[in-house]
Symmetry: C2
Subunit: 461 residues, 2 copies
């Protein structure tokens, strides 16, 4: 499996550099995938990067450059002459150039834009205008445009002539004289058709497209649903302004899944850098806000305990079951909230399904509650009372705990499934309504229910 080659090759590359065996190095590098070469650059000493980079043939150098992390890119750019920078900029696609520019300081951006030819500079500036996370911000403006009256032969000629600079030639776009998108045709259809057939007779006219301002998450969902390789992006007048390719859609999917997972674990997503490249302080900043908020909101739970202090003092055995009730409630609530959040982000359910969701979760909660209560009753009687000889675990105490459990799980599931849907409805990210947030609410509910039931059944307090 050659993809693991960077691991074993890395030492060889370092040794060859030290021994100044540049011809051999070049031979090795040209057999490698740009992604793997970029990984080598991120691991070798900074002062060796420029030398190694100059060993790469022009096209491979550009392909490798776009795969590097921003620190390495910035460092290399500082070492480039204007001519070297221009060679890179000329080779890369507009959307990759935009990705790089977005991460660079202003003076580097200026240098890059100065080296880009006027057409490319215009396109970069167009894309930079779109809001972050919009379809416009992740699209590329390099695609093949065909006309409806062209023959297959003319179309293929055009692709051969202009295709070298296009990010994808596999889906071609047909527009009329007003630049309105009227159809798409794949290169497969072109190759499998007769040379004199007309594009307008072959093209697919029912085109699914997105608007420049649509959210990138929506774009990713469409790729996931329809198995496209590219998706056209149109402006408000239905004019074709760009395309999103499947590789960028995959990046969005991974990024959005990571963000959802982070939010579910009470982490503020701050960066899409890999774990080993994020600093300690940055990690701290992404984690501390929710810890603080959740700590303060646990005050209410504390207040509930304080207000039932007398009941607790009268029957200290009750406090032994607080962690179990809180954890079970929290876990039940997380299960519901996480399931609903994922279904919302995959577009499986919407706000209008809220009654169906509540009905379903309430039935699931009763099944779970009954099972856990029964298991817990047995455990309290057989283990706590008989085996451990804890006389204060009476049948009534067990009844209080089990009843609390059923009620708590019911509320936990209902709160867990409704809060994310309401958040979505109000325009917030449902993922924030996941486990930790639900846990805090469910803790308060479960303790309140516990003490109320205990006071009623055990005649204490």
């Amino acid at each position: 499996m050659e993809r693991t080659s960077t691991v074993s090759l890395f030492d060889t590359i370092v040794t060859l550099m030290e021994n100044k065996r540049y011809a051999t190095l070049r031979d090795i590098l040209t057999t490698m995938n740009p992604v793997d070469i970029a990984a080598v650059f991120e691991d070798i000493a900074n002062e060796k990067c420029a030398l190694l980079f100059r060993l790469l043939p022009k096209e491979l150098a550009a392909d490798t450059f776009v795969e590097m992390d921003e620190e390495t890119q910035e460092m290399l750019i500082h070492g480039f002459s204007d001519t070297e920078l221009k060679e890179i900029v000329d080779e890369i696609y507009v959307d990759d150039a935009v990705d790089i520019i977005e991460e660079m300081p202003a003076n580097v951006v200026k240098r890059i834009l100065r080296q880009a030819d006027p057409e490319m500079r215009k396109e970069i500036n167009e894309i930079l205008k779109y809001p972050e996370d919009s379809a416009g911000s992740i699209m590329t403006t390099e695609f093949v445009i065909l006309r409806p009256k062209m023959t297959v032969e003319e179309a293929i000629k055009r692709i051969r002539r202009t295709g070298i600079d296009k990010e994808t030639i596999y889906t071609c776009y047909v527009s009329d004289s007003h630049s309105t998108l009227i159809g798409i045709i794949t290169i497969k259809t072109l190759l499998l058709s007769e040379e004199d057939e007309l594009i307008e007779d072959l093209m697919e006219t029912n085109v699914i497209s997105v608007n420049t301002l649509d959210d990138q998450e929506e774009v990713a969902q469409i790729f996931n649903k329809y198995n496209f390789l590219a998706l056209p992006v149109v402006d408000r007048e239905q004019r074709l302004v760009g395309i999103v390719t499947v590789d960028d859609a995959i990046d969005v999917m991974e990024e959005e899944a990571t963000e959802d997972i982070q939010k579910m674990a009470a982490i503020t997503p701050t960066t899409d850098k890999p774990y080993d490249r994020i600093g300690v302080f940055e990690t701290y900043l992404s984690r501390i806000p929710w810890l603080l908020i959740l700590m303060v909101s646990a005050t209410f739970t504390g207040m509930i305990i304080t207000s039932f202090e007398d009941a607790l003092a009268a029957s200290v055995v009750l406090s032994a079951f607080i962690p179990m009730l809180m954890d079970t409630g929290g876990n039940s609530g997380s299960q519901a909230s996480v399931t609903v959040i994922r279904a919302l982000s995959l577009g499986e359910i919407e706000f209008k399904d809220i009654l169906m969701v509540i009905f379903k979760e309430s039935r699931v909660s009763l099944l779970c509650g009954a099972t856990l209560a029964a298991a817990n009753f047995l455990k309290m009687m057989l283990f706590d009372r008989m085996l451990m000889g804890n006389e204060s675990v009476t049948v009534m105490v067990a009844a209080v705990v089990c009843l609390t459990m059923i009620v708590t799980i019911f509320f936990a599931k209902i709160v867990g499934c409704t809060l994310p849907m309401i958040a979505k409805r109000l325009g917030f990210d449902p993922a924030v309504m996941a486990s930790p947030f639900i846990t805090t609410i469910v803790d308060a509910i479960s303790l309140f229910v516990y003490f109320e039931i205990a006071t009623a059944l055990l005649h204490i307090g």
Copy 2:
């Protein structure tokens, strides 16, 4: 935005069916994407499906059929004549046929295999032999093979002749006479090269491939890393046996992300059906095992409280801070575990990085612990003592709580980051080591630390 058309169109389609306007219906359906037509079938009454299906042109019918859920597919197959079934089977790709067969009861599988032509039947049976979730099980055997000595012109002719039955023609595979994969070439390269150039001079020879038995998650990671449209699958002798296309890799990515998220929330992943199609009992079964396990393991936490019953009775105020300490510990632990699990599943870190991870998490935990302890000290003094007038919240009690918090967060982060890495190392799924599991362990640790510190500082128990 035409992709929302199914929603508004659905009523029209039902009305047209009731009024027997079949020609109009057919016209509407042929402008729709197969994915959207399949959604219509899933929503209309069963007895109308067969009629509607017969309105579809043959190719569109097959494309729509593969997008339906298994219930609708099975119902339609039962209504098909053998000729109708054969028409569908002939049109669909091998990997889609395998996906359908895997979900069908044995008698339906037999009928499908009987209608497949011998070549296809053999290929289906080949793929069915690979273990679930392996690269072999998600690959297709329909791809374009070229020979190294072919010219570009010959290659394009071959693609034109055989391409219609191939799932992708955009990447072509070059093999020698022993079927060993020796290179790949994209149709872009073919189209942009001269007609008399040789494939062996143009092809990319540094091919990244996977083995038939590699895990599908690994396959998805490679797509994510290298931006491929297709990935070749080879057997142990490096013979090319199939390819995985990017659309299948995207399905795997979404499926694996959902599974990770479910496991993190203590749900046993059972099905890849959308939320609204999973029954109540099935949902119950996927949730109850972990709830039971976690409930029983909370027994230990209860036992710790019981063994410090005297301390608690002597200083009841201590119990008011139990929920806050447990929640804060649990949240801190989840943050670390979820971050590490995600980094593991994206391939950002490996087991060998464990010391780096522990060092980083311990520094983050000290920063978080110090901040939270300071905030909590202020809150206990200003809010609980001064504002609420709770005289039993003394400086010493606040010190006990804050000290416990720092120690708990430290342990929580360390446990949170190491358990998933150890799980991965031992061959278990790290995602199971997420929030709920960590919470249970951290609960026990935090209570133990709390009571030990309280006993020492407050001279009780």
